[in-house]
Amino acid sequence: ISCNDFLDEQPTGTLSSTSNLTSADAALAFANSAYVNTSVFNSLTSGWGSVTPLLLEYMTGKVSSENSQSNFKEFQELTVSSRSPYIEEWWRGCYAGIANCNLALQKLPEFNQVDPQLISRYQGEVLFMRAMYYFYLVRIFGDVPKIKTSQVELNELFVHRSPIKEIYDEIIIPDLLAAEKTALPLKDLTGRTSLSAVKTLLADVYLTYAGYPVKGGDQYYAESAKRSLEVLSHYTLFDKYEDLWKPENNNKGEFIFQIQFSLNKSSNQMVNIPLPSRSGMSAFNLEYGSMIPTKEFVESYREGDIRNDEKQFFFRTYKGNKSKFSPGAPELTFMDFKGYYIYKFFDSYAIDVAGQSGLNWTIYRLPDVMLMYAEAQSHADGAPNDASFAALNAVRYRAGLSPFTNSDLVAFTAAVWDERYFELCYENKMWFDMIRTRKIRDDISGQYVNFIGYTTKWGKTYSNTQLLFPIPLREMQTNPKLVQNTGY
């Protein structure tokens, strides 16, 4: 045997980057890779009973934890460090997603035997996801390394941070504008990206771009409103809130874009993470109590708001699960948890029976878009129009509240923001709204006050430092070109 042949062993179970792939299925597999890291939006991190969404809730001051291992205390004390596993996971997950998108965008045009319409649709999905990952990165970390191609050489690895605006202008916005022009379907009920999802994300991006820290200008309110308006007509609100936490409604109804979970395949940890700690109320292995609403926030809902009725968005009582208590135990019929817990993700089949949940995690749903529209349109035009009132009041109507009629921009904005708090709470929206507007709603007074200088219920005061999270220490150590955010 020739010795070189003898030593030439090639992987048999893994393709390599030079494999020659031509089928439509392979093209689809590359497109699918863009979604693999959507798990970053809701996945376990190190720390018992800890999931990524907690990062964006713990900083709001509207949430507490009865799970010490979720490291809530460092957020409560505003002493979050660059070693926080939440931070590392958000950074890692988003960039892993971006790397997949970069490779897919490079590979997809090579599939010249596949229907071009299909390739166009796939490109739309990948562009959408790349924009999404960067959108989270700039809001969490500020300036970040700009990487648009697949890195192959070891000497390409060290990339400096690019300004936030450059990331928006050169990646996020161009990607979404390009995705708008692809062959994406208007809607999708299987969980894939649709044109509506692209426009929703673009609406959010422009609204954010108009606010802090870019302050791009009022014209971006108009660009935002234009996109959200195009979405509104294609979706309708659920009649009842409980439809939000039924897995059978995944990707349907008012849901525009969700992270996919499925029974026996991948369980949504956010279903059991917020349940009262070790209460024995669920079929899950454990209830963690890692995310519980503050009493002040829950009690700041206005009189008559259905959403804070028992077992709407919150609950205080339930029954013990039969897997956790002996037959005949009084807990099996009634338990009082002596405080408020979140009911928004209450997949009752999972909690009572299965111990695992196929409930999707929502990134965008209709009320979010309605409220984005109301805010963007009113700011673009200086006053709300009928469509904005309709959008705001649709959200209020479902909550049992009377229509809002004041067209004063400040009052209208406050009313929209109120609904963003009360409707979208604990869905990873509140923190981004706070840093976009640099305003925070004081639970006691109901007033919007400056974020910087605001003192939380735990006596800690936000400063400029809290506007951004630190770059993960590991990344600082492996990439000498990075400079840490100030204050960390």
């Binding site: 062993e9 392979a26 597999a29 699918n32 009865e66 004390e77 395949k265 009084p330």
Partner: protein, 1094 residues
């Protein structure tokens, strides 16, 4: 006489040489004689029946001018002159000899030594002693020096002086009967070794009953650290030769069994089959396995046949009983309840709002009538260690047959082992079969080979972290079962969740079976007296299968899945072909050359498959019928293959019997590396000098042996995953519409320049013998640097990946090794010897990654990293906070700066930033010892023998990660009894925080309180044996009969508070030594055994 096989020979008219060979083949003796002195071609007739060696020799040499002397296993033959006057040679040139000197020459025991040469120094005048050891010689003047020499004895020179009678006592020269030591691709006399090689023969290796090779080696070889980290009967040993060289590649030594390189699982080998075990330590010794020699090489040679007319059948068997050597003190029911209520009450301080809301009630005993009496006292007080651990019974039987004739020898052995583990429902059965044969087919052709079939099957709950943890955490208030026969569960206490360990042990199966077939066939062509060519083919086939089932009722394990059944298999196939030429050239008796050149091909491949099914209607099916489960998890399968191609050569040159030179080179190519760097060359050079053969030491009365050795060389390491050089696209599953879809993305960064990790090593050693080698000392110093480390270097996450396998970084190790054997007493009926082996290794990381960044290689605990790699520090360093104690009431203000209350843990703020977080971590200890030592004593008194082995490991730390669960947190699980010492307002000077419910907050991080001194002194083995005397043996018609009893792990002195400081619960992780996250308890084992030869 320990080698007292009975000899039966009935041969007419054979040469003396053949007769001697026959005796050799029936016994363990070897004859040493000079063919020019002894007429070995003389025809004789020999008839003995069941004679002792003395009887046989007496018969054989009756009437011949031959004297014999038995030294251990060697029999030296000398020609003797007739018992008459001394032969006096005259020389004309010499002055007439005038003085007659006579005397007696005796051996070390005072017995007459016939055939000793006596020479007058500087003359040709000489004589030999007669059968009574007498001599007579004439000398010319009183200053003449007499030289007494005898094969196998140290020569002595004596000045006659004015004496007419000079009696001499000669002492044996150990070197002359040197054992043969196996080295790579050959053997060498121990005295001819240039490298650092430790050799252990089977009787020393098996001086205590063991179930595997690692146990047998433990504490016996300097520089070899054997850590038995598991209580499982077949537990994986962590074996390190001269420290850790590598970070991401393997640090395990290379195992070579009968020439088969890299045998996959030595645990399957029956230790009784081992004839000798050699450990190659320095580069000179290991370089011949260059490619894979960097971590040292362990050569195992199995027992071969005997060319005797009568076969030997031997049986070895033992039974043993293992009991829990130590228990961990846990809270009992009453204490638990008391601590629980205290904990709930303390919520008033740590969560006043929640406390006011009523979130923290005391235990409502009235609502739990199954667990509490009417007066609120607990009904049960279960000791879960008693419920989970058992008395482990082990049975071992080994039978071997060794036989053959002048041309062909064979051996066969059968072994059976049943060993219980301490943890219930866990055991191992092992069946071994081995066949060896060697045949001189032609004068120019020898063939041979062996086949070994090993199979084991067992159930092992030791691998299950959850169960071991539960033994510690199960609440003592809970019984195993209630009086009505139903399982009790921790969940019967509000807030607790899991079932009891008893139930998990009962409703879970983790059954692993391994089948290994090792076969080897060689052909040895003797081209001429000096040249031979050997061709070998070998295979090592290994199948592993694991059957796992976790019951449908087991909370947190498999209840939500409705039962989980998994079958996984791995089939490995290995073959090798090696061809090498050996040239032995003796230029004269003192200058010799040995040259070996060869080439080799090796290939190992594997196929793996794993299938999991869930949701069964009943636990009945377990893993037997996967189709009966209704939920399928996608199966996984994979395969891999690697190939090695090598060219190697070695030259040994011996100059004047005193100066030894060795040069070795191996040129290796491996498929594991990038296209640009597949091959690498691994050279080594060594030199040894028999200083004691030099004139100035030759007759030193104290130093009987002194050899200096030095070597330098380079070896390699390729033990990384296959295809690490390649830029792979990995597949993952994603879900749309409740259906899995495939996704393709980069899974490895790839590195076409990936190359060999290289270890350069220098070694300097001394072999010393004192007082005729009654004391033997071997001392080695080594220094080695591993460079081009195969490192999963962290890369920025912005790449989309987390690491790339590159050749970055280096690590150095240096250390001393000492082995001392002392024969204190060597009497016929009483002997006592002591062996001490000691070693010390210092490890230091020189360079890491592209920016020398810290690397956290794992193991990790949920509360933080336990291990760190940092430049300038040793590998295996532990990482954590410094716990100062607890905040006192008077320190309330200071505590408040850290957002803490009196009663909370107080950590050192190392960076003084007013915050306690990971930035206050530092290196707090390490999992490798400063030094370790093994002390073995062997005593023989008449038929009795006594062995005592002590092992000392000093300056090692253990991080008891279970401290998190046992001490730092408390509330819904049991805890260590030490928590009774927690902070209270009246007891503030403590390392344990005030108790509070988990729902409030508590601090628990890897810290200096988790870290403990793991130094220990262990009584490894205490053994008493009895060898039955000849009368009993003859009556029972057996050749040998020995019974023994031993106690292993008979004491343990340590400050460590876990089960055992020799622990690793991260066995698969390179730096897992000394990490104890619910480690296994170790048994104290009492054994009785029997050995008999027929």
């Amino acid at each position: 006489d320990g080698y007292g096989q009975k000899i039966t020979i009935d041969r007419q008219n054979v040469t003396l040489e053949v007769a001697l060979k026959l005796i050799e083949s029936q016994s363990e003796y070897l004859f040493l004689y000079d063919k020019s002195e002894i007429a070995s071609n003389r025809k004789i007739t020999l008839t003995v029946s069941k004679g002792t060696i003395e009887e046989v020799l007496e018969t054989l040499f009756d009437g011949m001018p031959v004297a014999y002397k038995i030294f251990g296993r060697n029999i030296v033959l000398r020609k003797v002159s007739a018992p008459n006057k001394a032969v006096i040679s005259h020389s004309k040139s010499e002055k007439e000899a005038e003085i007659l000197v006579e005397g007696l020459v005796t051996d070390e025991k005072g017995e007459a030594l016939p055939g000793v040469s006596i020479l007058v120094k500087g003359t040709q005048r000489g004589t030999v002693t007669d059968v009574q050891g007498h001599y007579q010689i004439a000398i010319s003047d009183q200053s003449a020096t007499l030289v007494f020499s005898y094969v196998g004895y140290v020569s002595q020179e004596v000045v006659a002086g004015n004496r007419s009678e000079v009696n001499i006592k000669l002492s044996p020269d150990q070197k002359a009967f040197d054992e043969v030591v196996v080295i790579g691709y050959g053997t060498v006399k121990k005295s001819d070794l240039t490298g650092s090689v430790a050799s252990i023969k089977s009787e020393r290796l098996l001086d205590k009953p063991v179930v595997n090779v690692g146990q047998a080696m433990s504490g016996k070889i300097s520089g070899v650290e054997v850590s038995q980290n598991s209580g499982t009967p077949d537990g994986k040993m962590r074996i390190r030769i001269r420290g850790d060289n590598s970070i991401n590649s393997s640090n395990e030594p290379l195992y070579v069994i009968d020439g088969i390189i890299g045998v996959a699982d030595i645990n399957l080998l029956n230790p009784n089959d081992i004839a000798s075990l050699e450990v190659l330590k320095d580069a000179s010794a290991t370089a011949i396995y260059g490619a894979r020699g960097a971590n040292g090489v362990i050569l195992i040679t199995t027992k071969r046949g005997l060319s005797s007319e009568k076969s030997i059948i031997s049986y070895d068997g033992y039974i043993s009983i293992g009991t829990l050597a130590r228990k961990i003190e846990l809270l009992n029911s009453t204490e638990w309840l008391q601590m629980y209520n205290l904990t709930q009450d303390n919520a008033a301080k740590y969560d006043p709002v929640g406390y006011a809301q009523g979130k923290y009630p005391r235990m409502n005993t009235a609502s739990l009538p199954k667990l509490f009496n009417a007066d609120g006292t607990p009904i049960y007080n279960t000791d879960w260690q008693n419920e989970a651990y058992q008395t482990a019974k082990t049975t071992n039987h080994s039978i071997s047959i060794r036989g053959g004739n002048e041309k062909t020898v064979y051996s066969a052995s059968l072994g059976y082992l049943h060993a219980d583990a301490l943890i219930k429902q866990s055991y191992l059965n092992r069946y071994t079969l081995r066949l060896n044969f060697d045949s001189n087919l032609k004068t120019w052709l020898k063939v041979g080979g062996n086949v070994s079939l090993n199979h084991n099957k067992g159930n092992d709950h030791y691998a299950n972290y959850g169960i071991k943890r539960l033994v510690m955490e199960a609440i003592p208030l809970i019984p195993v079962k209630y009086p009505d026969g139903t399982w009790a569960s921790n969940r019967d206490i509000p807030g607790a969740v899991q079932d009891t360990p008893a139930r998990y042990l009962d409703e879970m199966v983790n059954q692993t079976s391994n089948t290994q077939t090792i076969a080897n066939f060689y052909t040895d062509f003797k081209i001429n007296d000096e040249l031979d060519f050997k061709v070998t083919f070998a295979t090592d086939l290994k199948n592993r299968k694991t059957n796992y089932y976790s019951g449908k009722n087991l909370i947190q394990f498999s209840k939500n899945q409705g039962g989980i059944a998994t079958i996984s298999t791995e089939n490995q196939t290995y073959w090798q072909n090696e061809n090498y030429l050996n040239w032995n050239k003796e230029f004269n008796s003192r200058n010799r050359l040995n040259l070996m050149v060869g080439l080799s091909w090796q290939q190992r491949s594997a196929e793996l498959l794993s299938v999991t099914q869930q949701k069964f209607i009943d636990d009945f099916y377990q893993w037997h019928n996967l189709g009966s489960g209704t939920v399928s998890i996608p199966p996984s399968s994979s395969d891999w293959r690697w190939s090695l191609n090598s060219y190697f050569a070695r030259i040994n040159y011996t100059l004047a019997d005193k100066y030894l030179f060795t040069a070795t080179g191996r040129y290796d190519g491996s498929s594991k590396f990038g296209q640009n760097n597949k091959y690498a060359f691994f050279p080594s050079f060594a030199f040894a000098w028999h200083v004691s053969d030099e004139e100035f030491l030759k007759n030193n009365s104290k130093i009987s042996n002194l050899k200096f050795r030095a070597s330098v060389g380079r070896t390699g390491n390729q033990e990384i995953s296959n295809y690490a050089y390649a830029q792979n696209l990995g597949l993952s599953n994603i879900i749309f519409n409740d259906t899995f879809y495939s996704a393709l993305s980069r899974s490895t960064f790839g590195n076409p320049d990936l190359k060999w990790e290289k270890t350069s090593q220098i070694d300097a050693g001394l072999d010393l013998g004192f007082w005729n080698n009654r004391v033997d000392v071997t001392l080695d110093y080594y220094y080695k640097v591993t460079s081009d480390l195969l490192l999963y270097a962290p890369i920025p996450y912005t790449s989309g990946l987390s690491s790339v396998m590159t050749n970055i970084g280096s690590v150095k190790n240096q250390g001393f090794e000492l082995a001392v054997t002392s024969h204190h007493i060597e009497k016929e009926h009483f002997s006592w010897n002591t062996t001490v082996v000691a070693s010390s290794n210092l490890n230091k990381i020189i360079k890491l990654g592209s920016n020398n960044e810290d690397i956290f290689p794992g193991p990790r605990h949920a509360q933080g990293d336990l291990s760190i790699l940092r430049v300038g520090q040793p590998v295996g360093s532990f990482w954590g906070l410094t716990r100062l104690g607890t905040w006192g009431t008077e320190e309330a203000d200071e505590a408040a700066k850290y957002n803490r209350l009196p009663g909370d843990l107080k950590y050192a703020d190392l960076n003084n930033d007013g915050k306690i977080n990971n930035d206050d971590n530092s290196i707090i200890g390490r999992g490798t010892p400063n030094w370790s030592m093994g002390i073995s004593n062997q005593l023989k008194f008449k038929n009795f023998e006594l062995a005592l082995d002590i092992r000392i490991v000093e300056g090692i730390d253990v991080i008891n990660a279970a401290t998190h669960n046992r001490e730092d947190r408390f509330g819904v699980a049991n805890g260590a009894r030490s928590i009774l010492n927690s902070w209270t307002p009246s007891h503030q000077n403590t390392m344990l925080a005030e108790r509070r419910p988990l729902k409030t907050y508590y601090d628990s991080y890897p810290d200096t309180h988790w870290l403990q001194d793991g130094s220990f002194i262990r009584g490894q083995n205490l053994l008493v044996g009895y060898n039955f005397g000849s009368s009993t043996i003859q009556r029972l018609k057996v050749d040998r009969l020995r019974i023994y009893a031993s106690l292993q792990n008979f004491f343990l002195i340590t400050k460590y508070n876990g089960y055992d400081p020799e622990v690793s619960t991260a066995t698969d992780q390179t730096f897992g030594q000394g990490v104890d996250d619910f480690g296994d308890p170790r048994p104290r084992t009492f054994t009785v055994g029997l050995s008999v030869n027929f």
